[in-house]
Symmetry: C2
Subunit: 349 residues, 2 copies
């Protein structure tokens, strides 16, 4: 480990440099891009010194504000969560998360194995008081900006109280990362008139309306409202949220493929694409997952951010920015305050 003094934990990120499809190269590039855009931030880079040192050499922003922390082992993408927990100690992922618990950094970022990262984060950072189940967030690009959707797969089911706690955690998360003072919250449901959703969803709806929670609850929304940006936070169980997220990604990918075809089918259409270049570039950027990279397992005693495994350097930098925003905010305190109000089933309905 290189010597480095005077690190402020809340202005330091702890990075798993070995996780992700193109690690460590894109991770190092992404951290460099992040540090350039945030001049007050520093980074710990956990990973194999023999691989990392050459990538960091001669780059002034990394030399000045990144610290290499050697870890000889790493978590592979095919490892099961249980294996990762057994053999995890000393890996770059483990060390990156452990640095949060030990107060060396304000948040960690990894593009590695999702299941392993979730399991490790829960083990090392523990659940916050009052949280029964942590929830995974996704940032969803909409017509009006961005919307937070949770849970997108940390759990397969959720009872009413868990849905209410997801609403509380998502609302504080949206305030910290979307810079919205009072984010609006909706509960995902289906529209058929006389049988509005499961019992869990209907019960959570009553709680959110009745409980004296400090949040702007707007009631039920439907699937097509997500992309319209109807609310800032969409609450659902992990099964439905995961299906919705992946289904949306699939539709976007299909349309992007059709669009590429439409603009390459003839000389005329290629010329058309050239003329409309500016608009098309903006469209491409809107559809680019790198621009909304970063998921967080909410409800833990520290901040562990998951980047897409296939993120490029820019995408990884976005995940770092989210981690930095969270580390600088009081969203953990806000969550604790609202969670205390729902107590153990003690909501006046």
């Amino acid at each position: 480990m290189q010597a480095q003094d005077r690190m402020d934990p809340s202005q330091t990120l702890s990075i798993d440099a070995m996780g992700g499809d193109n690690a460590p190269r894109i991770v190092v590039d992404g951290v460099a891009e992040f540090l350039e855009s945030r001049p007050h931030m520093k980074a710990l880079l956990h990973g194999d010194e023999a691989l990392l040192a050459p990538l960091m050499a001669g780059r002034s922003v990394l030399q000045a504000r990144a610290t290499l922390v050697h870890a000889g082992e790493k978590i592979t993408s095919d490892m099961k969560p249980s294996q990762a927990l057994r053999r995890g100690k000393g890996t770059s992922m483990w060390n990156a998360v452990e640095a949060i618990r030990d107060g060396k950094a304000g948040a960690s970022v990894s593009a590695g194995n999702t299941g392993a990262l979730m399991a490790m984060s829960m083990l090392i950072l523990r659940k916050m008081d009052g949280v029964h189940r942590p929830a995974m967030t996704a940032v969803w690009p909409t017509l009006r900006g961005r919307t937070i959707v949770l849970d997108v797969g940390a759990n397969v089911e959720a009872d009413a109280q868990q849905l209410v706690s997801f609403a509380i955690m998502g609302e504080a998360f949206a305030r910290a990362t979307l810079a919205i003072a009072r984010p609006s919250v909706g509960l995902l449901n289906i529209g058929s008139e006389e049988m509005k959703g499961h019992e869990e969803v209907r019960e959570a709806h009553e709680w959110l309306r009745a409980a004296g929670l400090d949040l702007d609850y707007r009631g039920f929304i439907e699937g097509d409202d997500i992309s319209m940006g109807m609310v800032d936070v969409v609450v659902t169980d992990g099964f439905t949220g995961n299906v919705a997220l992946k289904t949306g990604e699939g539709v976007a990918r299909m349309l992007a493929s059709h669009m590429r075809e439409a603009f390459t089918e003839s000389l005329m259409s290629k010329a058309g694409a050239l003329l409309a270049m500016n608009g098309l570039k903006r469209l491409k950027s809107l559809m680019d997952p790198s621009n909304v990279n970063g998921g967080v397992l909410l409800g833990l005693g520290g901040i562990s951010v998951k980047s897409h495994g296939s993120a490029d350097a820019r995408g990884f930098a976005r995940a770092c920015e989210m981690a930095a925003d969270l580390a600088a905010s009081d969203f953990q305190g806000e969550i604790a305050a609202n969670l205390a109000k729902i107590g153990t089933g003690g909501v006046a309905a």
Copy 2:
């Protein structure tokens, strides 16, 4: 009722001419378009004679092959299913469905109130033997063609046996409407490694693998596989299916809106759009919901097709084509044969 002899029920559709946002005009136009493309088909048009007769006047295809059946009442879009059942008798929707039960036509089509149509269809046509819960289908445009998704909202939950019956019904439906001899079937799930979905989904998976059903079951798929066209039939519960369908529609609508902006932001981009016109037209048609219009409540003793309420004439014609394909096929018989194999819980696992 106009006199009309020698109608072959399987070559006749029974149409609710008063249902939908722009009824009866687009319904009459849609039926005319349908009859022109299917010279052997006939239609019963149920609705207000005073409104329908002028719309049908002077149009030779309608004069030759459509029969006006007067109904003085109609179901409105804000009526609850229970109201529709109480006051439904004698409405255009009721009469359209009743004509199927009475053997006057092979299938009915309505663009009216979904909940009312579902309730009425169940009451009049009854469930098939062996079906506990009917399921609503949707046709999903994919990279490879079209995929059937069910249930998209007839029920909010589904146990393992119901999921298996959805697979059986969807497979027969896909063969009849997509002209695929042996449609492949997948079960919608989430991808996390060590906890593959709810118990219901895992149990249905075992049944589909073990039971001696005559269908090409491919196992679990995830949300993004739907638009890739990974399988011909996607099986899920009504809550998840409805959320997936509406979420996908929302994403497509958002991207279409961004695309319009990209091609109108400057003179250059407008010129580009002109040059790329052919490709863009094809893209627009791929994204046009009218091209995949028509949902069916499977598992009843007759065929009742639901058109989008906002469908245009072409969209309504597509729903009629689907109804005609179903009326000409033996999909009800195929469903009955496979359902008999799962019996009442009697699958050898």
